[in-house]
Symmetry: C2
Subunit: 226 residues, 2 copies
DNA sequence: GGTGTCATGTGAACGCGCGCACAAGCGCGT
DNA sequence: ACGCGCTTGTGCGCGCGTTCACATGACACC
């Protein structure tokens, strides 16, 4: 408020819908870079991302990644620009709370480190799980969460506990200084205003699919054969 | 149908944003029902779901679940009404393609059957995986997918293969008659118009979190303690 | 050096979704 | 029986997001 707006490195607000598409663009761009492609048009990138071309152009206009008229966008430039906006250029270590079925699968997910999200540590409340080695990392008790975050500089917390323990797990993460949380438990959690929570809810996704399927099979009588 | 009959069983289109919230309402309502609560107001349900109360009322108005003015909504009625809209009242068996780290975790997820999505079968392309028993189910080869779907009446497919194989896996599912697909692979897949695909992308979620975190740490210099 | 062709960048319109605010209606207490 | 308080149901305005359509501008070829 006291100082004017600086429009250098990602100071202006990017629309949320655009932010959600940037990772998809980034994936496509990395594929292109691997294939040796150096420039890409908004139409080409739109096809890779499955969105409208005008949407791509408007999205990229929010970044400081201007393209060349008549040619397109420089792939390498876009990659670095989007990476900078999304991750700040630095990796974000991740702490996983709850090392059950899902937590173990996540621990072994190689896409984490590839995407700039290395596993900083695993914690669990079950003494039978604590001390065991999962994916090369020893599971630590929940009361060591704060020190674990402090040691590793973890900035992201993943909640993979049962729903009943999700709010408690989130509380521990917030108390440890984590401000970005990804919650896999099917539970609405409350957090302070400065903490960002994103929900990944498998059951919800399936039920949304179920709605559309149900609607097609009951509302559409013109389709009989399969 | 010679006349345009307005059926009462979910014929009018429900807004997509509302559909996405219905599962959250349902979870809260089931908790209330477990606690013996029989009626709930829009304010109470809004708190449970973490949304605005007027939004709840408008959402429920799309269903045929009218409440009683001055009292609220009947919990049991809402549960059955939302369940009917979302799942058609019948369970939707699920086929999982790709039984790796994630596929195994999903197979053991008890929330599936609890939510009306029992595991109908598991398939994988790796001969080393085929034949092994995971969570009480034997993994079958991909070329048995069509017969598996036919036998079990599976209506939902989950893709848990590497990204490079996602499009192929989706193709198999579509060929087998599946019209609802949940894709965990970080890959944009193409499907016919009558097939519904929902993407669950972990890396995307983390990168969105990363954007907000990066924005806070660089743009926001004033932080309120508390 | 001129011109044609191509792709970017953006103005404007449309639709959707959200939330406020208020009227309508139901039940309970007196 | 009657009024009061509580809650539903919704009309309306606002903002966001998406898309079309077009003007602007760069590059390549002749
Ligand atoms: N495939 C899946 O398993 C899957 C898929 C989608 C969502 N989910 C959700 O993810 C969550 C975990 O699922 P899961 O199958 O791994 O369950 P799980 O029971 O296998 O694992 C839960 C783990 O959390 C630990 N835990 C419990 N309370 C804790 C606490 N207060 N603090 C720290 N750790 C605690 C437990 O000791 C256990 O190790 C659940 O909420 C589930 O609904 C799971
Ligand atoms: N925690 C996680 O592991 C995690 C989290 C989020 C997303 N994902 C995504 O989920 C997918 C699977 O991850 P994963 O860790 O389980 O990988 P994985 O390598 O452990 O498992 C992949 C499985 O798919 C099978 N497969 C390969 N090609 C196939 C094909 N054409 N048809 C059928 N099956 C095939 C393989 O044999 C293997 O069993 C990946 O796309 C990954 O990016 C994983």
């Amino acid at each position: 408020m006291t100082e004017p707006t600086r429009d250098r490195t990602g100071d202006e607000p990017i629309p949320e819908a655009t932010v959600a598409r940037l990772p998809v663009y980034l994936r496509g761009l990395l594929e292109l870079a691997d294939a040796g492609v150096e420039t890409v048009s908004s139409v080409g990138l739109a096809e890779l991302a499955g969105v409208n071309a005008a949407n791509v152009r408007k999205d990229l206009s929010y970044l400081h990644a201007h393209g060349t008229r008549g040619v397109g966008y420089e792939v390498g430039h876009l990659v670095s620009e989007i990476s900078l906006v999304l991750g700040g250029g630095r990796p974000s270590p991740v702490v996983i709370v709850g090392v059950g079925n899902l937590g173990r699968a996540l621990s072994r997910y190689d896409g984490f480190v590839a995407g700039g999200f290395p596993i900083a540590g695993l914690v669990d409340a079950d003494p039978a799980v604590v001390g065991r080695k999962v994916a090369g990392t020893v599971v630590r008790p929940v009361d060591e969460l704060a020190s674990l975050v402090a040691e590793t500089g973890a900035t992201v917390g993943i909640v993979a506990t049962p729903a009943a323990a999700a709010q408690e797990a989130v509380g521990h993460l917030v108390a440890a200084g984590i401000r970005s949380i990804l919650n896999f438990a099917p539970s609405v959690v409350a957090v302070p205003a400065h903490v960002d929570v994103r929900q990944v809810d498998l059951a919800t996704e399936l039920q949304i699919l179920g709605y559309h399927q149900h609607r097609r099979t009951t509302g559409d009588t013109s389709r009989a054969a399969g």
